[in-house]
Amino acid sequence: MRSISLILKQFSRSVLLVAGFTILGLSAYAQGDAAKGKTIFEAKCTACHKVDQRLIGPALGPQLDKETDEKFLVKWIQNNTALIAAKDPKALAIYNEYNQSNMTVFPDLTDADVTNILTYVRTEWKTMQEDAKKAPAGGAVETDKGPSNIMIFGLIGVILVAFIVIMVLNKVVKTLERLIANKPDLLVEPVPVEEVQVDKYAGIKKLAKNKKFVFFVLLCVSIAGGGWTWMTMWNTDVHQGYQPVQPIKFPHDLHAGAMKINCQYCHTGAYKSKNASIPSLNVCMNCHKVITGLKGSNAPSAEIHKIYDALGYDPQTQKYDSTKMRPVQWVRIHNLPDFAYFNHSQHVKVQGLKCQTCHGPVETMKEVYQYSPLTMKWCIQCHKRTEVNTKGNAYYEKMEAVHEMIRKGEKVTEAMMGGIECGKCHY
């Protein structure tokens, strides 16, 4: 459903864009090629600027509404430092407003390039403003609420169908009742039925007297019951598939799947510590300072806003308020008992295992669940079957020499090196 809404949205956007271009044809500003401008804008400017929002630099749409002096803008964009050095009053005003931090200079941009950018920004800003105006009445609302409408229609449909079914059934019942009322003799039939019932019980009684049959049934029941108990006992405290509700609906499928972000970008501990560690929120903010919501939407997504709330961050002023900080309380999914020592770096850094080996296809999980059983049997199986990654690691050189004499070139597993001894994990 979300994809339908996205398609609708994009469609309306392109329609509006075309409309915008036609309006722009009548605009008074110096003209450039908005398409070229867009390319340059996305290549050079988006690191610090957005059209409608303040990022590191000002929101360009409103800024360009205020500032109409093209020549100044061209100079500023090409080399703002020179303007400031020349004590241009306008330049100084901006410079001071933004904490005296310099904008990057772009001497390689030609005047035409800059004009293109300006054209693009103005076009884009106009489009956005018109979108906003249309929003209360126009198609924007429809597209935004699309999925929920479909849901509502669907629900109404289901209820209607259910209603019709009930009506029909009612009708059938009433018809039958009427039939019975009309022909009362239909009801005087029970005597033969009772005889049939007696016969039935007799069959069961006969079976109950058959010792072989009883034994067989009991055997089946006890085998089934025993088997079930056995399995349940074995799986006590095994939480495979455990998928708790997390305080933030963090989509691993988006981050690790669609965006292909390396696991270690966030779980930095996996390479150097026993804990893979849940990233602290400053890691989230590396990206989410800029990415506030779904592509193309201006309002920050509710989930991303939870990060801001936790940090006491105000996306408008871009300031942190430490008094409002409160940590995010994630629910732990992979929970080894305290008496088992596990070290991520040993497995990830030394052995070079993929995270997916134990954690499953995280890159496809909308919400993470426990993929592996995390039982000792599971650990040991892997220690017995997996070849140790000794390549290029000088640590194993000495050890291998010893082993070579003993085994003559078979594969080395962790178990052979003492990896299934109690004290290697339990201390």
Partner: protein
């Protein structure tokens, strides 16, 4: 067996008392009352069947309900903004300073969890005392003050500042005195802050007062050489060491440092070169140092002075006025022989005296000057700043307060109400003082009567520095944010004296930038950062000058002898009392630390108490038995007030007859739930004589009729007279290095019942040098900190349930003029009990290759590893305790309680704060499981992993055990026996190596090296 010497752990073992024999039949002294249950009403009655069904029903129901439980929800809360240097799960180390020693503080996720020695520490070379190891626990003491207090109520820093400044302003104009009382401060920055404070309030005086004072040495050096300092002693340069009551391996001045120096001429390396120093100890009670001495001579406190005078006479050939032979013939003889030995070692001799008497110390200076010790074994130019207390100044201060001349007093790290011999006098005098401020960070006897409590940061939360020995500057840096609303004392002083520098960190920076960094060739920000990594700077030692002694000694000798006369006990019920600092608690400042309270005293093996140590002969004479509580009454000669305490008696072989020794540091009344009311306070027994506080006095004793059981660990593990200790004399060793180690008395090889284990790469073993181990107990506390060993408390120790993974066994044996005792009959004469020798043996899991514990475990909870370690899987253990019963070394410990979550142990380690000190890499054990030394397996695994990550082979010395790391004498060496070049392999090749109970064929992994005693046959 092989050895012809008899060793015993206590008199009950020596005399084979029936109760002792009975208790030691079993590994666990108190059997579980199974017999009672079975025979009494037991299973025969009618109710048990019903009860059984009830229990069964309840059990099934409970299990079913428990199994219905959903997945327990564990929260996982990451940092909001992670500090750059913190990686969860990885420890960070910070340099700091403890007691003038450079240390490393191990922190996990921002919490200090262990103190480790800085291997580059100039003083102790990485060794640390038990106190230093235990200091980390005090950070989490929930008895610490949470906020400043004004007149007993909670207050805020603003309120305190306004109040104090107003008061100080008024006092300044009033012109009355301000006094700042501190224990010794050797921090350059703190001293500068105090100087600033004095500049702002010129009527202030800084008074330094130490609970256990060294004023005697300082003033003697002032008198003899014009230098009011404690010299720096070099025990490593001495071939003959003679100590008169100075416990320099245990408590005297700088024991961790002296231990390292002392062992330099006695350890493996020195012995290999056929060189061993000689150490003679004259003392009253059995101290750690005395028990390690080659020859130990008993003298009473009253005889000490005369012994020194006689020694001087024998060395110089003169006769000081009043000299006479001692009543103690053996000591008299010994003094002459010692004099001859000292003379022979001219320039390589050292005489030290533990007395705080100026006259005695002047005489010791004269003796050392005679021996040419100055410039070699004693260094007056690179002197020590560890103690600078001035006793007379403090008593003057009490007088000033009494006369109403003092308007304000500040106490910093000083608790005189407890430590002063007349605490009541201080209490009364303080009533006349208008402003009483203490910087105590936890409640103590003084803080409760001060009107302002401005709690100081703990040292792990502070910035600061130290200068323990001239030319050695160390830095203190915080390793955790302040836990409570405390403020560093220096900061408070700066605020109150309107310092231009706003915070103490800047002040410390300034001190280093301006003066100290340059001394180490550092400068600027970079220099400071280097310092924060190295921890110290060391200026090259000044050449130690040789000093000659030219003062008249007649008066000195007279003072000494007069004093000796006053100390003589008269009459039957009078005893000479000697006060000493115990190894664990020292002066009692850390009395609320359960690790220290449970650390057995090295000699007596008593925990959780102080006691009156008496000679067995005296006890027999007076008809006392161990544990009898006696009243000890002392008349204070200064004010004729008498003070008496009731203490249980401990039988102490080797205690001088007619004397009683009692430890200071106990009997705190305001210390917190752990230390409060443990033992009795004997500070009131201190004598103020000739301008210094002295630790000897005379007491009258009387019986109370009570008897208590001391919580002693000494005889908890009888070794059944087996040959576990081996020692030899230096003479024998020179003749035959394998003397008594099994080389010369090799027993026959037994057939192995089991197959040998493969050790594909590692075979972790240990070598312990009995000649280096002094028994100080630092390893015990280090092990507790590293391995989350619980504290069980006095009652449980009495039931033989202490949990220490490593213990130090102390064995007595008789000295019989070189003869060896073979038959028990020969030792019936109790006189011999005065003349005993002591051997210490650290005992821990031996990680046997054919471990007897492994074969009896029905659930395979304890198994052997391919690396030569005996593993213990706690989660597998069902608590049959078969393994403990089958262990010949008695090193397995059973968890009788869930010590980490049982309200009965509330005072010790169970509260949300002290839980923070736990090592997260080691599990805490639950009730009903067995535990024992794991050979710090977490460290082995971490060491191997580090090597794997760095893609390099594991190097010898990469992995260090917690006990090994803290040992000030390097007595313990751990390593890989499969590597022939490792240090431990080399050591185990030594001729002195033997394995305890090797005749059992269990193939222990820990090799011990025979104790060598440098006894002179003529002197013993």
């Amino acid at each position: 067996m092989d050895s012809n010497k008899k060793y015993w752990k206590g008199l009950e073992e020596l005399n084979n008392e029936p109760e002792f024999v009975e208790k030691n039949k079993h590994e666990f002294a108190e059997p579980i009352p199974i017999e009672e249950v079975l025979s009494g009403g037991g299973l025969m009655g009618k109710t048990p069947r019903r009860d059984f069904l009830k229990a069964l029903g309840f059990g099934v129901g409970a299990v079913t309900l428990a199994a219905c439980q959903k997945v327990p929800v564990h929260k996982s809360i990451p940092y909001l903004i992670k500090p750059e240097e913190v990686t969860p799960g990885v420890a960070n180390y910070y340099v700091s300073t403890y007691d003038g020693h450079a240390i490393l503080v191990k922190t996990r996720e921002g919490r200090p969890i262990k103190i480790e020695g800085n291997p580059n520490d100039v003083l102790a070379k990485g060794g640390l005392s038990a106190q230093a190891q235990a200091s980390v626990l005090d950070l989490y003491d929930y008895n610490r003050l949470n906020n400043p207090m004004l007149d007993g109520g909670d207050s805020s820093w603003n309120e305190i500042d306004t109040f104090v400044k107003r008061e100080l302003g008024a006092i300044k104009t009033g012109g009355k005195k301000i006094r700042l009382v501190t224990s010794t401060i050797n921090s350059p920055s703190t001293l500068a802050v105090i100087a600033d404070f004095i500049a702002q309030y010129p009527n202030t005086k800084h008074i330094t007062y130490d609970a256990v004072s060294y004023t005697g040495i300082i003033q003697a050096n002032q008198n003899s050489f014009g230098k009011a300092v404690i010299p720096h002693y070099n025990f490593d340069k001495a071939d003959v060491i003679v100590s008169f009551g100075a416990d320099f391996l245990g408590t005297w001045i700088s024991p961790s440092e002296f231990m390292g120096q002392w062992v330099k001429n006695r350890g493996s390396k020195s012995l290999a070169g056929k060189k061993m120093s000689r150490h003679i100890q004259f003392e009253t009670g059995m101290s750690l140092t005395g028990s390690n001495a080659d020859t130990r001579i008993l003298i009473k406190p009253s005889e000490e002075g005369l012994a020194l005078v006689n020694l001087y006479n024998a060395l110089s050939g003169t006769t000081l006025p009043g000299s006479k032979p001692m009543g103690n013939s053996s000591a008299d003889k010994a003094v002459k022989l010692v004099a001859a030995e000292l003379k022979a070692a001219q320039g390589k001799a050292l005489v030290v005296c533990g007395s705080n008497d100026v006259a005695k110390q002047i005489l010791v200076n004269a003796i050392n000057a005679q021996l040419g010790s100055y410039g070699t074994t004693i260094d007056l130019d690179n002197y020590s700043n560890q103690y600078k207390g001035n006793d007379a100044e403090f008593t003057d201060f009490v007088g000033e307060m009494n006369r109403g001349e003092v308007d304000a007093v500040f106490f910093l790290n000083s608790n005189p109400v407890y430590e002063y011999h007349n605490g009541q006098a201080i209490k009364d005098a303080l009533k006349k003082v208008r402003l009483k401020v203490t910087f105590a960070d936890r409640k103590d006897e003084t803080s409760v009567i001060c009107n302002i409590v401005a709690p100081n940061h703990y040292y792990l939360e502070s910035w600061g520095d130290g200068n323990a020995v001239e030319g050695y500057y160390t830095v203190i840096q915080p390793t955790i944010n302040p836990v409570y609303d405390t403020r560093q004392a220096e900061q408070s002083l700066m605020v109150w004296s309107d310092s231009t520098v706003k915070d103490y960190y800047t002040y410390v920076r300034n001190t280093w930038d301006k003066e100290l960094l340059a001394k180490g060739g550092l400068s600027g920000q970079k220099g400071w950062e280097t310092l924060l990594q190295t921890g110290f700077i060391k200026v090259a030692d000044k050449p130690a000058g040789s000093y000659s002694f030219a003062k008249d000694l007649n008066g000195v000798a007279q003072t000494i002898l007069n004093q000796g006369t006053t100390l003589e006990a008269k009459g039957d019920k009078q005893y000479e009392v000697q006060l000493y600092q115990s190894i664990a608690l020292r002066d009692g400042k850390r009395a609320n630390n359960p690790w220290l309270q449970e650390l057995p005293d090295p000699v007596s093996k008593v925990t959780w108490d102080n006691f009156a140590a008496m000679s067995p002969t005296d006890m027999k004479k007076a008809g006392y038995v161990q544990g009898d509580v006696i009243n000890i009454e002392v008349k204070n000669p200064n004010n004729n007030a008498s003070y008496s305490i009731a203490l249980p008696i401990l039988v102490q072989p080797g205690q001088a007859q007619g004397t009683i020794s009692i430890a200071l540091g106990y009997g705190r009344t305001e210390a917190g739930p752990v230390g409060q009311g443990v033992g009795k306070n004997v500070y009131p027994f201190l004598n103020f004589v000739n301008g210094t506080f002295q630790t000897a006095t005379v007491a009258a004793i009387s019986t109370t009729g009570d008897n208590v059981i001391l919580a002693q660990t000494q005889t908890h593990h009888s070794i059944e007279g087996r040959n576990v200790i081996r020692e030899t004399t230096f003479k024998e060793y020179v003749k035959d290095p394998s003397s008594n180690s099994g080389g010369s008395l090799k027993h026959k090889e037994y057939e192995d019942l089991w197959d040998d284990y493969d050790h594909p790469q590692y075979n972790w073993v240990m070598a312990i040098d009995l000649n280096a181990c002094t028994g100080c107990g630092a390893c015990v506390v280090a092990c507790s900190a590293e391995n989350n060993v619980p504290v069980v408390g006095r009652d449980e120790v009495r039931r033989r349930r202490e949990m220490h993974w490593i213990r130090i066994d102390r064995y007595y044996s008789f000295n019989e003029d070189g003869k060896s005792i073979t038959e028990e009959k020969e030792i019936e004469d109790l006189k011999d009990l005065d003349n005993v020798a002591v051997v210490y043996q650290p005992m821990l899991c031996q990680h046997c290759d054919h471990a007897p514990c492994e074969t009896v475990c029905p659930v395979l909870a304890t198994v052997h590893s391919s690396e030569g370690i005996n593993h213990m899987a706690y989660n597998r253990c069902v608590g049959t305790r078969y393994c403990a019963n089958n262990c010949p070394y008695k090193v397995r410990r059973f968890n009788w309680f869930n010590y980490w979550n049982d309200s009965r142990f509330d005072n010790y380690l169970i509260n949300e704060h002290t839980h923070l000190v736990l090592n997260p890499d080691v599990t805490t054990r639950f009730r009903g499981v067995m535990e024992k030394c794991s050979m710090c397996i977490q460290r082995i695994q971490a060491g191997k992993l580090k090597a794997k990550i760095e893609k390099r082979p594991l190097k010898d010395g990469d992995i260090k055990m917690a006990c090994q790391q803290t040992c000030p004498t390097n007595a313990i060496v751990f390593g890989n026996a499969s590597d022939p070049n490792s240090e431990v392999s080399q050591l185990l090749k030594s001729e002195r190596t033997y394995y305890v109970l090797e005749e059992l064929g269990v193939k222990p992994g820990i090799g011990y090296q025979v104790k060598v005693r440098n006894t002179a046959e003529t002197l013993a």
